[in-house]
Symmetry: C2
Subunit: 200 residues, 2 copies
Amino acid sequence: MNFYSFICGMRSRDYGKIDLIYTATLKLIEKDGIAGLTMAKIAKESMLATGTIYIYFKNKEDLINELYRKLEKESVSRFLKGYSQDMGFRDSLKLVWMNYLNHRIDYHSESIFLEQYYRSPYITDSHKSIAESMKTPVYAIIQKGIDEGFVVDDVDVEMLFLAMLGFIRELADEHVDGVYVVDNDKIEQAFNLSWKMLQK
Amino acid sequence: MNFYSFICGMRSRDYGKIDLIYTATLKLIEKDGIAGLTMAKIAKESMLATGTIYIYFKNKEDLINELYRKLEKESVSRFLKGYSQDMGFRDSLKLVWMNYLNHRIDYHSESIFLEQYYRSPYITDSHKSIAESMKTPVYAIIQKGIDEGFVVDDVDVEMLFLAMLGFIRELADEHVDGVYVVDNDKIEQAFNLSWKMLQK
DNA sequence: CAAATAAATGAATAAAAATTCATTTATGCA
DNA sequence: TGCATAAATGAATTTTTATTCATTTATTTG
């Protein structure tokens, strides 16, 4: 019995297929970018017929936009996972620093998708502002560090944020590409570099 | 009289059109990515007929690959512009640091293209290694800093490089997007942050 | 178990994009 | 100046890709 089967005998939709489609799409984009994406490839990769994709999505544009909305929601919550107000400054910073790094490594295809989406024919202006809003919680943590006297106060919060974010991103990408392998020791070193940079 | 006009009366090619085509292509990709690129759009943007593009390039793939080859060559030389062996460590580092930043700002569409190309259906394995080779001259400068005792010696050169590069990239991109405006003061602050991070 | 219904399929069709080519235009040379 | 030639053009064609739809399959319910 399905929510929608108010008329007898409706075969129910298998919403698990949406995840298959998303996973296939992300895998394909990770390799060849949005430029290489076709509905036929998505169908093949997710082991469905092309027509099936159109049961769950209006068209290709809709599929890509829905995927963006889903990932955007998921990402924000992951960045702040485990954070609470009463943590000390260094612990707070390390937490979100690690969350960013782990996110970019564990959800690499998602990260690539979000970046490519941002510069694609699919993005709308309303979506552009969301990338910005993801920064505010981290700004708040850095600001706390300034207020408590841990962090240099002659540099913008924004700049300190960019310095950390850029480093993490490079580190994660090189790790995923296998160019520079990041283990626990390296992570410790890397965080200490970021920490040293912020310190008063 | 043209190089190719060994037979009387050949109208000569206008090789300036190649630059028009490249500029149009970069502008279009900066906005909508390689995913949004069509030959019709390139033609319109460069004020040529679609057929004209096929006089100078075999096809779309060829155009994109040729553009990649050109930019790759130009970029490497720009990063080291003004560098000489006898400069002190801090000056060397600041020079390449500034070159990277200025390059990413002044040649933003080129930078975007190179990044998107890297994850597109057009890249070949042989091209992947080139991105790597661009790093070596900067590695050498940082290594010099380690040898002369300016730079921490318990962290890989690669990691220090990634920390600087990532920061510069974020800074430049936010500046170009108009989200965080970078003036001379900010550049000074930013370099000092990178410097502090490297210091022993 | 059979009827009813939508899901799933993939070949057929439509739409979009790449590429060609018949025609026109501009240029170099005698 | 006029001829020869390739450049330039953009409509026509081909190719690729997105989307539809007639048909088959699976599921729900009485």
